[in-house]
């Protein structure tokens, strides 16, 4: 099925927008917008999401291309790590005499 068939209104596709707030930080998801292509998505993202100096870099990703985990998988996905407390440094008792570690 072509895009036209699934999109009878000829609507611009949806893009998810990620912005690096300042140098040294990761890009963060800030929202989404519609644009005909990636180039326009960046231009629109600049107007919609950085009107007050919020960013130094923009990523745009077509929303359709994102694969997300399912909320119902939350248990099997994340519960196993709950029993592995030894992954955290605070699991180990180091005597004060040893000094900072």
């Amino acid at each position: 099925m072509s895009y036209q068939d699934t999109n009878p209104r000829n609507e611009w596709p949806l893009w998810e927008i990620f912005i690096r707030g300042q140098h040294g930080m990761s890009h963060r998801h800030v929202g989404s917008l519609h644009a005909p292509d990636a180039e326009m998505a960046i231009k629109n993202a600049r107007d919609v999401y950085t009107r007050r100096n919020e960013g130094v870099s923009i990523w745009v990703v077509e929303a359709e291309k994102i694969t997300a985990s399912s909320p119902s998988d939350k248990g099997p996905m994340y519960e196993p790590s709950q029993s592995k407390v030894y992954r955290h440094p605070t699991f180990f008792d180091i005597p004060d005499d040893v000094g900072a570690m």
Partner: protein
């Protein structure tokens, strides 16, 4: 408010519903892919879109004065404000879209009158002081409603509201700044400021919607945490905050019954004319026709641009794909 009299949907029942309500009661955020009752989804679509439509239609009364702002600085500021309103509309449409509707679908429902926008934008902006009054009163009233909505249960809506609230405070201050300038100006300017307050006071009170003490919809929306305070609560808060600001300007709130109740510390005030409110909501306000015509015209006139850009994007993608095949 920007979303007035949003009807909430009755919903299914069962263990899933109980678990859902428990999540909300625990203060958890509901995210797009989570299970939610059909009524929650429908009510949210209605409420968020009405809010989005209000931001978009709200550009019209103020846009009216961009070319006639008294100084270049005022013009630049107003332009930035109106651009923010467009941005707010877009954040909200995107939040609504996570619920499974498309933005163009929502736009169509606004344009053919199936969906509403706030009653306040059906009043005309007759003088420059109206731009001050809108920023001060209308955006002030909007803030009252939007600040608590930052804690609403639906994640994308709450996050949109956080961005909006940050920007809304600039809007109210720019309005009050205009009012201060005019109230301290010539006699004619003072009269203009007073006239703007006279005309915008009651429509601003109407923004919160009629008393919802007995409304079933409000009760449902409140238990879903998509409505946080009652209309009356917010209206009272707005009056309490705004009256001293009017006094500072040396302007008179057009209400003979207005007085501070020393016992409660709250102002007593007259109710707006609710018949007028329902008339405006039903399409019979001073500017309803003009506003919808302007939105329809913008949509129709922009059709060739939207189509042209889509066609260009497809052509470019096809070229890039065939160039890749040749290279291989």
């Amino acid at each position: 408010m920007y979303a007035q009299m949003v009807k909430s949907e009755n919903t299914d029942s069962g263990p899933e519903l109980d678990a859902f309500q428990a999540r909300i009661d625990a203060g958890e955020k509901i995210e797009p892919k989570d299970w939610m009752p059909a009524g929650y989804r429908k009510t949210l679509i209605r409420q968020i879109s009405q809010h989005a439509h209000s931001e978009i239609v709200g550009q019209l009364p103020e846009g009216n004065w961009i070319t006639r702002a008294p100084t270049l600085e005022r013009k630049a500021i107003l332009l930035a404000k109106v651009q923010d309103e467009a941005g707010h509309g877009l954040y909200l449409y995107c939040a609504a879209e996570t619920l499974g509707v498309s933005r163009d679908e929502l736009t169509e429902m606004l344009l053919d009158g199936r969906m509403k926008y706030s009653s306040i934008f059906n009043y005309p902006t007759l003088t420059w002081a109206d731009i001050g009054a809108i920023g001060w009163l209308v955006d002030g009233a909007a803030i009252m409603n939007q600040v608590p909505l930052q804690r609403t249960s639906y994640g994308p809506y709450a996050r949109a509201m956080v961005r909006i609230c940050k920007e809304e405070s600039f809007h109210q201050r720019q309005g009050y700044d205009i009012m201060m300038k005019m109230a301290q100006g010539s006699e004619a300017q003072k009269r203009m400021a007073q006239d703007a307050l006279n005309r915008y006071w009651y429509p601003s009170l109407m923004m919160f919607g009629p008393s919802d003490k007995e409304s079933v919809h409000s009760a449902q929306s409140m238990s879903w945490r998509i409505k946080i305070n009652s209309n009356d609560e917010l209206r009272q808060k707005f009056v309490d905050q705004t009256v001293p600001q009017a006094e500072y300007l040396g302007l008179t709130v057009p209400d003979e019954n207005l007085r501070l109740d020393p016992e409660t510390g709250h102002y007593k005030f007259s109710e707006p004319d609710w018949t007028e409110f329902f008339e405006v909501l039903n399409g019979n306000g001073p500017c309803n026709k003009e506003r919808l015509e302007a939105r329809n015209k913008a949509w129709d006139d922009g059709q060739w641009v939207r189509d042209g850009m889509m066609a260009h994007a497809r052509k470019k993608a096809a070229r890039a794909a065939s160039a890749k095949v040749v290279a291989e």
